[in-house]
Symmetry: C2
Subunit: 207 residues, 2 copies
DNA sequence: CGTGAGATTGACCGAATGGTCAAATAATTT
DNA sequence: AAATTATTTGACCATTCGGTCAATCTCACG
């Protein structure tokens, strides 16, 4: 009766396999640039079998984006108003950078969606994300008023954290090409750089 | 005889119209996600007419990317080793941000290409761009050694400038949604924020 | 073992895609 | 104005696309 929840082990395994393959493909080519044949090949099963587990290409994509939004908002949720301001923000930066390292495909999936005008997650952006940003901006504003961190535009501070950290996932290819060999791991240097950057930004003339 | 250069006025006008339309479409949907029908409709001419001026979909895309690379490298070229370090870098940031405001589609076209693994401009990235970055990194390194700016990783400094400025073009939709109304212009605040950010980053403990 | 529900796929469909071609139209030249 | 050349497009083609379907295969359970 319930068509949505995977019940048997086979169903669980296959939906997971499909979503994994779809993430690989969608994150690289975007929704319209990806084909069910690509996904089915990546998943190692026939195209009709994909559509046995998901009603359509769009349903697969939608499921991925749904899961993504949770993962995506989580690090910001953890920004604790009662914590030590500098440490809270620097930890947030580190968590976001870690996500770029560990889940680059998710980052690219998100980037693709936004690049195309957020046609499928515009609601979540204007709703959940905006609300969360409003809330956390007030927290940051409070820290500024208390003199705990230097004065900055809170919303643009968040934008800067997103862009700087996601850059290492979304533009990974460029980063590695510019740095030289492909064997190079940019992340240690990136973390050190971002640490320095945000420390200097937030500590400025805060004795 | 010469099939590459637009000679007559009609040719010049039409190739320009086509490239303009193609930029609009490719920048939103990426190469594989865009269709010749979309482009021909956006250009206000028939599909066979597109292919009268360009041999293929790929040729249109390639032409756009070629033009783009010049535009893209130009601001960094202007970073002057003999100028005042802080002003040079801040001017570079402002130029890049201005490009995000004035040429957001070019930025998205570039982002799409990199997201897909830079299959068509990988060469230019490993060649021209890497060389330019190597050169300018030495300049920045020199400024650091002279004590003109605070110590930072020059390459990651450049990455940070790219990511922060391009974010306002590539993620424009998200930025506007999070900030509230669509009538809001994020750029004045963005410029002020980036000014502050890089000033604090580069001035730190440089008496 | 048998059987029936669940899982899998080859063959196929209509629509869309990149691209061709011949015929028509508009400029340009003589 | 006639002839030549450049431009434009409707009709078409082969391929690929998302999706369907009927026919199989598999496997848990009696």
């Amino acid at each position: 009766m319930n068509r949505k929840k995977p019940n048997t082990r086979i169903q669980q395994k296959n939906t997971a396999t499909i979503l994994e393959a779809a993430l690989e493909v969608f994150s690289q080519f975007g929704f319209r640039g990806s084909t069910l044949d690509q996904i089915s090949e990546a998943a190692g099963m026939s195209k009709p079998n994909l559509l046995y587990y998901f009603p359509s290409k769009e349903a697969i994509h939608a499921t991925l984006l749904e899961e993504l939004m949770e993962t995506w908002l989580d690090p910001l949720h953890k920004l604790n108003a009662d914590g030590e301001p500098r440490a809270e923000i620097l930890d947030y930066v580190r968590r976001k950078l870690q996500m770029s390292r560990d889940f680059p495909r998710e980052s690219r999936l998100f980037a693709n969606e936004i690049l195309q005008g957020a046609p499928r997650i515009g609601g979540a952006i204007q709703g959940e994300l905006k609300d969360l940003v409003d809330e956390k901006s007030k927290v940051i504003e409070g820290w500024i008023e208390e003199g705990k961190i230097a004065r900055v535009n809170p919303r643009h501070l968040l934008f800067s954290i997103w862009s700087l950290t996601q850059h290492y996932a979304d533009f990974d290819v460029q980063v590695r090409m510019v740095l030289g060999g492909e064997h190079v791991d940019p992340f240690p240097d990136a973390e050190a750089f971002l640490d320095t950057l945000f420390t200097r930004l937030l500590d400025a003339h805060t004795a």
